[in-house]
């Protein structure tokens, strides 16, 4: 019994006190490094979550295929570059064309026939879509790991390492800049262009949008194309970081907690959610991971998001659900 008691107290200490002690002890440099790498990793998650949000906003479809779309885009890009020797500046527009064509096909063959179905049916259809895209990508390009190099610098950012002593990956820094640019472009697109206004109208109310003459079908093709392009960006970043392979499609699972944390319908939510999840995950991994045996990154983000949800069931920035009978 006394041994049990001691171990109990020790475990409690390891869990509740020690992490904070360590956080305070190595406060400035190491802690900052963890937070920064968490933020940057969070940006990578946000890139995927953005695609989800775009489609959910405009069509109410919870698109599980977003992760596979990133893989699909990555496969085509590497295929064009490695197998045909096309330079990056040409291969990227070609992949964009492929993604737009895919979006058109998806609307034509799948979505058009499922208008007005229950959300869960649409969700299942996107799961089926994920299988199809994965099968097509693998059949065309094979399932081995491919290297993607479009000239994004890799390795540590020397300036930060030398002057402050913080290790920052160049690729993650690039991803952060690209994500920032992407959000600005998307915000501009949604706010100030004609199509953007139509998109917001559709997101607001399908029928009202239809009645003022907005074509739902065109809007869907546009939204899925934009989501495809976002997927391409995510595919490039993740592909450069860890190679284009099947596991790339699993980043969808990383983006889901980001999504429920930020709210399904909010673009800023996707970014802020990604940052929170990224930092939370890194801190938990470094300070709590060893206590519980490591490899907690699979579920920690979900638990964090779940805890948030108990206080705000519609996510941080989601639309408030008003229920009437």
């Amino acid at each position: 019994m006394p041994i049990w008691g001691c171990r109990m107290i020790e475990a409690l200490y390891n869990f509740f006190i020690d992490p904070f002690v360590r956080m305070a002890a190595d406060f400035p440099i190491f802690f900052a490094e963890i937070v920064i790498s968490g933020l940057l990793a969070g940006v990578m998650y946000s890139l995927v979550a953005l695609g989800f949000v775009l489609i959910f906003k405009a069509s109410g479809v919870f698109n599980f295929a977003q992760g596979v779309m990133a893989l699909f885009a990555g496969l085509f890009l590497t295929g064009f570059m490695n197998d045909f020797g096309i330079p990056a500046w040409l291969a990227i527009p070609m992949t964009v064309a492929v993604m737009v064509a895919t979006a058109w096909l998806i609307e034509r063959l799948v979505l058009r026939h499922l208008v007005n179905q229950e959300p869960i049916i649409l969700f299942m259809a996107t799961l089926g879509l994920a299988y199809v895209l994965e099968g097509v990508g693998d059949l065309i390009w094979g399932s081995d790991v491919k290297l993607l190099d479009i000239g994004i610098p890799s390795g540590a950012w020397d300036w930060a390492l030398d002057s402050v002593g913080i290790y920052v990956e160049k690729i993650e820094l690039t991803a952060a800049i690209v994500a920032a640019g992407l959000v600005i472009v998307l915000a501009y697109f949604f706010q100030y262009t004609r199509i953007g206004r139509a998109l917001r109208a559709v997101a607001d109310d399908h029928q009202a949008a239809l009645s003022v003459g907005i074509s739902l079908r065109t809007i869907w093709v546009i939204v899925w194309s934009v989501a495809g392009i976002v997927a391409l960006v995510a595919g490039i970043m993740w592909g450069t970081k860890s190679g284009v392979q099947f596991s790339l499609s699993l980043i969808a699972l990383k983006a889901l907690p980001v999504l429920i944390l930020g709210g399904f319908t909010s673009i800023p939510g996707a970014i802020v959610g990604g940052l929170i999840i990224g930092v939370g995950e890194k801190i938990a991994e470094v300070y709590w991971g060893p206590v519980v045996g490591g490899a907690i990154e699979n579920w920690f983000a979900y638990m964090l998001a779940l805890a948030f949800l108990l206080f705000r069931p519609q996510g941080l920035f989601g639309e408030k659900i008003i229920e009437r009978i």
Partner: protein
């Protein structure tokens, strides 16, 4: 002409409330059961039992479980794989800790343990709805698999991290372990599945089922007419998890015998079971069986057709199989979003009028 309720007089309330009020349905069911219990065992060999029949029965049970939660109570769950793992590990721990305990008792206790875990992870459903809940249940999936991988107590600290089912006997006949005959495996699963399908059918048309469906159709309205959402949702999670846990227990002990948790109960299993629910038909016990049968048979048929029929390479065939599965799923969703159960219903309506449909 033959299939109709005309002339089938009910003289008591019990007859009116019967599961199969139409006489032809009762005959059909009786014949089906006789075929399943008496005729099929003569034709069962190792391949049929292990690749088709036992998987079908095990998945049917899991699909009934998820159907209770998703189809009847309207709570989407993606944690099925995790709950099956709970059932499997509960069986393993119980049967290794108490080798003398009757195996049926072990199975039932595993079911109850899973029900408890299910209630725990069902708690957020009181506050979170729709896809937010679906993603939240993924927390259960990933957490449980991680737990069974990391904590040595669950796999008795063995070196491989696998769990292996020892031989257990029932009435002196081995039902689990390496030397079990395929017929015994099949009959054992069939008995359990038939029994619990009957229980489920009665649950969903009774008081429980009606409260679940009220919650599914509109939770606020249900609350106003006196259904307690707390009780209804948590009971749905408990019953559903019981079934899923039982399926997991059979999956591990009778079907596989030895299991590596990250592979056997990955998120793909959760999706597969959800597919079976949707393709079979949300809110239908019969649909659960049809959906399970379709998705157990389809990959086998596709694979055989492509490797033997068309002579494809195994790798290409695998990719094509994934592709075709996706196409088929989308096709079925477009053609009949309410699943096989709806098709069956339409067929019955047609049959009632046949051959004079006017």
């Amino acid at each position: 002409m033959f299939y109709r309720e005309v002339g089938d007089f009910k003289t008591s309330y019990a007859a009116d409330q019967a599961i199969f009020p139409i006489r032809q349905d009762r005959w059909f069911m009786a014949i089906l059961l006789v075929v399943a219990f008496v005729v099929v065992p003569f034709g069962v060999n190792d391949y049929w039992a292990n690749a088709i029949l036992v998987p079908f029965l095990v998945y049917s049970l899991a699909v009934i479980g998820l159907n209770i939660l998703t189809g009847y109570c309207g709570q989407v769950s993606l944690g099925t794989g995790g709950f099956m793992a709970v059932g499997a590990y509960a069986t393993y721990k119980l049967t290794t800790a108490f080798p003398e305990l009757n195996f049926v008792v072990v199975l039932l206790m595993s079911g109850f343990i899973t029900a408890g875990v299910g209630v725990l992870f069902g708690l957020p459903s009181l506050r979170i709805k729709g896809f937010y809940l679906a993603v939240a249940t993924l927390a259960a999936q990933f957490f449980l698999i991680w737990l069974f991988n990391k904590v040595g107590w669950f796999y008795n600290y063995n070196a491989t991290g696998q769990i292996t089912m020892p031989t257990r006997e029932l009435f002196g006949i081995a039902v689990t372990g390496a030397g079990t005959s395929p017929v015994v495996k099949y009959l054992f699963c069939l008995t359990i599945v038939a029994l619990f399908a009957w229980v489920a059918k009665n649950l969903v048309r009774g008081r429980f089922g009606r409260t679940w469906m009220a919650i599914r159709d509109m939770d606020i309205a249900a609350e106003l007419i006196g259904v307690r959402p707390l009780f209804a949702k948590l009971s749905a999670f408990a019953v559903s998890s019981f079934y899923v846990g039982l399926a997991g227990a059979l999956h591990f002990s009778v079907w596989f015998g030895a299991i590596e948790v990250t592979e056997a109960y990955s998120i793909n299993v959760s999706f597969l079971v959800l597919f079976m629910v949707i393709i079979g038909g949300l809110g239908s016990i019969l649909g659960s069986f049809l959906g399970a049968a379709f998705l157990v048979l389809m990959p086998i048929l596709l694979k055989n057709f492509m490797t033997e029929g068309l002579g494809m390479l195994a790798v290409t065939a695998k990719h094509t199989e994934i592709l075709l599965m996706g196409v088929l799923i989308i096709f079925f969703l477009i053609v009949e979003p309410h699943g096989f159960a709806r098709l069956w219903q339409i067929a019955k309506e047609k049959l009632r009028l046949w051959p004079f449909p006017y």
